[in-house]
Amino acid sequence: MIHAAASIALLIVSGAMVAVFPRSILAFLVFQGSLVAIYVARIPAWLRALLLGTALLVMMPVIGAWNGYYLEVATQVGIFVALALGLNIVVGLAGLLDLGYVAFFAVGAYTWAIVGSPHGNIVFGGGFPLSPWAFYLFLVVGLLVAAGTGILLGLPVLRLRGDYLAIVTLGFGEVIRVLANNLDKPINLTNGPKGITPIGRPPVPPFMSYSEGFYFLVLLIVIVVILVNRRLEDSHIGRAWEAMREDELAAQAMGVPLVRSKLLAFACGASFAGVMGVVFSAKQLFINPESFTFLESIGVLAMVILGGMGSIPGAVVGATVVTVLNLQVLKGFSLWLNELKNADVTVLGYNLANLPTQLEPAKYERMVFGIILVVMMIVRPQGLFPARRRQRELGQ
């Protein structure tokens, strides 16, 4: 009862905070935090669904109308949640360490970028960009292309043992990036480092802005992805993955076809990334190889690890925390530091204006990731929300 009241109060207060201070990053962080708090609070399932539904379906768009940047953040969080959930299948459930996951995201993104922009004319002749409506079809195409890429890569490499697989997938991620960077000749498929723009946006319902449209689209995809994750996890397929993760030889001896099960995990993970790639390219209007570096792969991995490997709520929270950290905390800290510099503030006799621009916190994303990864591994390797064993009993 106390929890229920506290949850409702928390949501109202944090919502009000954002309403009163629409430019305060802190207020928005509190709002985001309250969603996590509601998720873990000991309240009835219907109340949780109601509160989260209200927050995500009603409050968030309203907040977005006040400050578009927050809607942007929420959409980015959604994209990374879907990516983290995809990688969670591969790493968390099936135990295959994929260090090149962002490659599938890139494949999806380029799939739509090429046909959804005038660049398609260079590749295929005339007729491009395709009608914006084709975007919705290409969500499926992106899924299939990414899944196919996953299977193509998986077929030769999934026989390798764990840490070799990690390095090979890392190499594959680099290969995809190198290809994206260099496939402007002999045929100009990717336009090289210059990237592709403008990429077509999908039509949205007339009463919505583009950013609202993307927000709801991403939310919808995230819900589907969570559903798929849960249904796979709680089935013979999920059990086979877990068994493989525990002991490959024993799993195989019990009748689990290793390569096929691994391929399935790989393809599932890849397909989520592919779909989100399509969304990402349409949302950004512009993509180039810089969006698909090793750092991004590790970023998504950090989300899964931080949340707890194999745990769906973990992946959601991990993705939220890391994205918010990158988009808001580090950037916010940089902005704040800049304001101090411009105001000629001195700390311990040191004039901050003398601080080299190279020391902007936003440039030290890797350091923050690095510390998070190491500290998490040592202090809490199971993550913030570790996967709980399902206790289940079936009547005779």
């Binding site: 798929v228 249904r231 796979l232 089935s235 013979h236 397929i237 059990r239 086979a240 877990e242 068994a243 525990e246 002991d247 030889l249 024993a250 799993a251 195989q252 001896a253 019990m254 009748g255 689990v256 076809p257 290793l258 399935l264 064993r389 206790q391 289940r392 009993e393 079936l394 005779q396």
Partner: protein
Amino acid sequence: MTGLFEAAGVSKRFGGLTALHGVDYRLDAGIASIIGPNGAGKTTLFNIFTGVYPADEGRVTFRGQPVLGLRPDQITALGVCRTFQNIRLFANMTAIENVLVGMHARVRVGLWDALARTSRFHASEQGSWRGGLDLLERVGLRPKANEIARNLPYGDQRRLELARALGSQPALLLLDEPTAGMTQAEATSLMALLRRLVADLGLAILLIEHNMRVVMEVSDRVTVLDHGEKIAEGVPREVQTNPRVIEAYLGRRAAAPGGGRAGA
């Protein structure tokens, strides 16, 4: 007529080491044992029978169908399942989940059923859970269905591994040192369970075992391997008195009537 399980001329080398040299084997029904010192090639033979290693030479058939070249999961699907010398449970899964994984080869629903939660899927899951709990009941672990395998006592782990292997509904069960680490009393009760399984389910069982008392009591037939070669085969009494077996393996004392156990 072809037997249930037949091997002919099976050879295996590891680098320069010959682990198996032209071994023939045949099993039709009941409980058979393979004995021999460590390094004689017993576990290697199991690994070849279950597809873990490829053989260098020879052929192996199950119900007349060639087995060599198949993957372990395919062989399990045919109806041959095994346990391991050093228990290999899925340590962080519950007892019932371990058994459910054992039933994987018998699940007839696919990805789509799982995603769409079709009625076929629900029926299949229910059937699996019921069957899994029955198997746990059979080995006496029903009350521990939801315990994490890693936390079970040693003897329970051995029995859980047996239940997991039974999950694939095998016609032939290969057990690698099932009584290792058990006291004589525990071993005797496990053998009674195996006898019941043969009677109830019509299974054939092939054991690798070091406990001579168990072997001699429970086996219909005993095969002795030494240095990768079969040196004797027959009913327990014949093998026990075979001079070559006494020389290479049993020793005078163990071969004497009511002789002691060998090893663990």
